[in-house]
C-alpha cells in the first residue's frame, strides 16, 4: 500500500499528466489543417511513444539509456542550479516549500485581483516572518521590494495598482 501511495505521489503521476496532455493535443490536432497538425502530433507522439517505451522497458531487458557510450554527460545543468555537495548538507524541509508554493500562488492570484503593487509587501512580509528572519531584516527587505515594485511602475510605466476586480 505504501509503495502504491509513493508511486501515486511521485514520478508516475507527473508522467501520466504529461501523457494525458500529449494524448489530448494529438487527438485535437485533427481539427487543424494537415500542415498545422504535423508538429503538434509529432511532438505529442514522441511523448506518448517515449512514455509507452518506458512502461514496456519494465518488462523487456533492453535499456534505453546510453550507459557509458557518450562522453558528454553532466552538461545539462552547465551554469545553473544546485550542486550535490550543497544538497547533501541539509535536511530538506518540505513544509517550507509547500508554504512558499502557496504564498507564490496567493501572490499571483492576489496581484491579478487587486494589482501586484498592493500584494508585494504582504507576500515578502509573510515569507520572511514565516522563516523567522530578524525584524530589521524583514523590514528592510519588505520595504526594498515595495520600492522595487514602485520603480517598475514609474520607470517601466506598468499598471501594477489596478487588478482585474
Amino acid at each position: 500500500m505504501d509503495r502504491l501511495t509513493n508511486m501515486a505521489r511521485g514520478e508516475h503521476v507527473f508522467a501520466a499528466l504529461l501523457v494525458t496532455l500529449a494524448v489530448y493535443m494529438f487527438i485535437t490536432a485533427y481539427d487543424f489543417p494537415p500542415a498545422a497538425r504535423l508538429f503538434p502530433q509529432a511532438a505529442s507522439g514522441i511523448v506518448i511513444v517515449a512514455a509507452t517505451l518506458r512502461v514496456v522497458n519494465h518488462f523487456i531487458p533492453y535499456e534505453f539509456t546510453k550507459g557509458d557510450s557518450v562522453v558528454l554527460s553532466g552538461s545539462g545543468d552547465d551554469e545553473s542550479s544546485m550542486s550535490e555537495a550543497e544538497e547533501s548538507g541539509k535536511t530538506e524541509n518540505r513544509t517550507r516549500m509547500l508554504v512558499l508554493g502557496a504564498l507564490i500562488t496567493g501572490y499571483i492570484l492576489g496581484g491579478f485581483a487587486v494589482g501586484l503593487f498592493w500584494v508585494t509587501p504582504p507576500f515578502a512580509l509573510a515569507y520572511l516572518v514565516y522563516t523567522g528572519q530578524k525584524w530589521w531584516v524583514t523590514a528592510i527587505i519588505t520595504a526594498a521590494l515595495t520600492g522595487v515594485a514602485y520603480v517598475f511602475i514609474v520607470l517601466m510605466k506598468l499598471d501594477l495598482v489596478t487588478g482585474g476586480i
Binding site: 539509456t65 558528454l72 551554469e79 550543497e86 541539509k90 516549500m97
Partner: protein
C-alpha cells in the same frame, strides 16, 4: 574580408557610454548571481531580461553578455571559500580552490581565479573576433532548408545531452515542442490550443517560460533546504593578490591550452563549462611537473579550470548566434533575450545586423578587463556574498520574477505562465527530466516548424529539397549519426572487439 569600420564601430559602441557601464553592471550582477549557489547563470539572466526591455537591443545584449561572464567567474567564489560551487561549471575549481583556502591562501586562490577568468575571456573573445569573417561566410551559406535541418539536428542533440534515461529526456524535449506549438501556426491562419484566449495567440512567452522554469522552480527547491548558502566552516581570507597574479602569469601554456579547450568544447551544443573545466583540469594535471599536488591546492588546477570556464562563453556563443542552438541553459536564456528584442539567431546576425554580432564579441573582450578589475577589488569581501540566508534571497527573486514577467507584455497571462511552468519545472527537476532537452524543444520546435513550412512552400511540397545540396545531405547524415550513433556505436565496437579477439 571584414570592413574594419564595423570592428571600430563595435569597439566604440562597447567602450563608450552607456555600453561600458551596462557591461560593468551586468558583470557585477552576474558575479553576485554566480556566487550564490542555487541562483546560477540561467536564473540570473532570466530575471535580468525584463529589465532590458527599455534598452536598445545592442545595449541589452551586451549587458546580458556581461552578466553571463560575471556568472562564470562568480561561481568560483563560493567554490573556493566554501567548497560549494556557485554553478556546475565551477565544480572543478573546488578541487584545488578549497584546499588552498583551508591553507589560509583564499586571496591567492580568488586572485588566480579572477586573473585566469579574465585571460580566458580575453583569449576567447579575441579568437572569436579573428574567426568571425570565416564564420560569416559559412553562416551565409545557410538558407531555409538548411535551417530546418539544423533545427532537427539540434533536436537530435537531446540524445547527446541526455545523462541517462533517454526516454525521459525525449519526453522532456517533446513536451517543449508541444508547448511551442501553442498559438497561431507559422504561415497559416490557424490558431492552435488557444481556447479563445487572446493572450495565447502569440504562443507561450518564451521569457516568461524561462523565468518560471528557472526562477520559481529553483526557489521552491532552495526553500526546502533553507539556511545560509555557505556550508563549510569559517575560512580565513588570507594570502596576497600580487602572488596570485604572479602565479597565473608564470603558467602561460596552461592558460592558453585551457582557454582553447574551453573555446572548442563550448562551441559544441549541449556541452559547456562543466565538461570543459574537467577536461582542462585533467590536461593540466597530466602535463604538470607536480601532478601529486593536484587535489591539495595546486594553483595550476585553478588556472586551468577558470580560464577554460570563461573561454567557454565565447565558444558557446557560436552555435547560439549562428543557428539558435543553445550550448547550455544560460545560452538558451540568451536566445530568449535576443528574441525579445526582435533578433533572430541566424544569417541576419551575420549580414544586416553584423554590427550587433561584432559588438557582442567585442563586449567579451571588455568583460575580461572588468572581471579582472572587479575580481581584484572585491577579492577580500567576496566571501560575504555566500553567507546570505536563502530565506532572504527567495522573496527577492520571486518578486523580481513576477514583476519581470508582468512587464514583458503588461498582462497577467505571462505571470500565470511563470507560476505554471515554475511548478512543472520543479517536478521536472525532481524527477530528473532534462531541462536542456525541454529548452531545446521549446526553442528549436518553432524554428524547425517555420523553416519546414517555408521550405515545402519553395519546393511545392517536395521533400527532395532537403537532399538537393551536399551541405543539406551532410546535415541529414549528421542527424542520423547523432540519433543512431550512441546505440549503434557500442554494438559495432563489441562486434569489432569480438572479431579482433577471434
Amino acid at each position: 574580408m571584414t570592413d574594419i569600420s564595423i570592428v571600430l564601430n563595435a569597439i566604440e559602441m562597447v567602450f563608450s557610454w552607456p555600453g561600458i557601464a551596462l557591461i560593468t553592471l551586468g558583470v557585477i550582477i552576474g558575479v553576485i548571481g554566480g556566487s550564490l549557489p542555487g541562483v546560477g547563470g540561467a536564473l540570473t539572466l532570466a530575471i535580468a531580461i525584463p529589465f532590458t526591455i527599455q534598452l536598445e537591443s545592442v545595449n541589452a545584449i551586451i549587458f546580458l553578455i556581461g552578466a553571463y561572464n560575471g556568472v562564470m567567474y562568480g561561481g568560483s567564489i563560493s567554490a573556493i571559500l566554501f567548497n560549494v560551487p556557485g554553478s556546475a561549471s565551477a565544480a572543478a575549481t573546488t578541487l584545488e580552490g578549497y584546499p588552498m583556502a583551508r591553507e589560509g591562501r583564499a586571496v591567492d586562490a580568488l586572485t588566480i581565479s579572477a586573473v585566469s577568468s579574465s585571460i580566458g575571456d580575453f583569449l576567447g573573445g579575441v579568437a572569436i573576433l579573428a574567426i568571425l569573417p570565416a564564420l560569416v561566410t559559412i553562416v551565409l551559406m545557410f538558407g531555409t532548408p538548411e535551417y530546418f535541418l539544423v533545427a532537427v539536428l539540434g533536436l537530435a542533440l537531446i540524445i547527446v545531452v541526455s545523462e541517462g534515461d533517454f526516454l525521459r529526456d525525449a519526453m522532456a524535449g517533446g513536451f517543449g515542442v508541444m508547448l511551442a506549438t501553442v498559438g497561431v501556426a507559422p504561415m497559416l491562419p490557424t490558431s492552435r490550443y488557444t481556447f479563445g484566449q487572446l493572450g495565447l495567440y502569440n504562443g507561450i512567452n518564451f521569457v516568461a517560460a524561462l523565468i518560471g522554469i528557472f526562477a520559481v522552480s529553483e526557489m521552491l527547491r532552495l526553500s526546502k533546504q533553507g539556511g545560509t548558502i555557505s556550508r563549510g566552516g569559517d575560512i580565513d581570507v588570507g594570502g596576497s593578490v600580487l602572488s596570485g597574479i604572479r602565479t597565473v602569469l608564470s603558467k602561460p601554456i596552461t592558460l592558453i591550452k585551457s582557454s582553447v579547450v574551453g573555446l572548442l568544447i563550448g562551441a559544441i551544443p549541449g556541452s559547456g563549462g562543466s565538461v570543459s573545466t574537467f577536461v582542462a583540469y585533467g590536461e593540466a594535471k597530466r602535463a604538470s611537473e607536480n601532478p601529486e599536488k593536484f587535489g591539495n591546492g595546486a594553483e595550476e588546477g585553478i588556472v586551468a579550470t577558470e580560464s577554460s570556464n570563461n573561454a567557454t562563453v565565447s565558444g558557446s556563443l557560436i552555435p547560439t548566434l549562428t543557428f539558435g542552438i543553445p550550448g547550455s541553459t544560460t545560452t538558451a536564456v540568451l536566445i530568449g533575450a535576443l528574441m525579445l528584442h526582435g533578433i533572430r539567431p541566424g544569417p541576419a546576425l551575420f549580414s544586416s545586423q553584423i554590427n550587433l554580432t561584432y559588438s557582442i564579441f567585442v563586449s567579451l573582450v571588455a568583460c575580461s578587463f572588468i572581471i579582472l578589475a572587479l575580481g581584484l577589488l572585491v577579492v577580500r569581501w567576496a566571501g560575504y556574498l555566500t553567507t546570505v540566508n536563502t530565506s532572504v534571497i527567495i522573496p527577492i527573486i520571486i518578486v523580481l520574477s513576477v514583476l519581470g514577467a508582468f512587464s514583458l507584455n503588461s498582462n497577467y497571462f505571462d505571470v500565470f505562465v511563470v507560476l505554471a511552468l515554475g511548478i512543472i519545472g520543479y517536478f521536472m527537476q525532481s524527477y530528473d527530466y532534462s531541462l536542456v532537452a525541454f529548452l531545446l524543444g521549446l526553442i528549436l520546435g518553432p524554428i524547425a516548424e517555420e523553416n519546414l513550412a517555408r521550405s515545402l512552400d519553395l519546393s511545392n511540397g517536395s521533400l527532395d529539397i532537403f537532399f538537393a545540396t551536399p551541405l543539406r545531405l551532410l546535415l541529414v547524415v549528421a542527424t542520423v549519426v547523432i540519433v543512431v550513433g550512441p546505440y549503434l556505436g557500442p554494438v559495432l565496437k563489441q562486434q569489432f572487439g569480438t572479431t579482433s579477439e577471434v
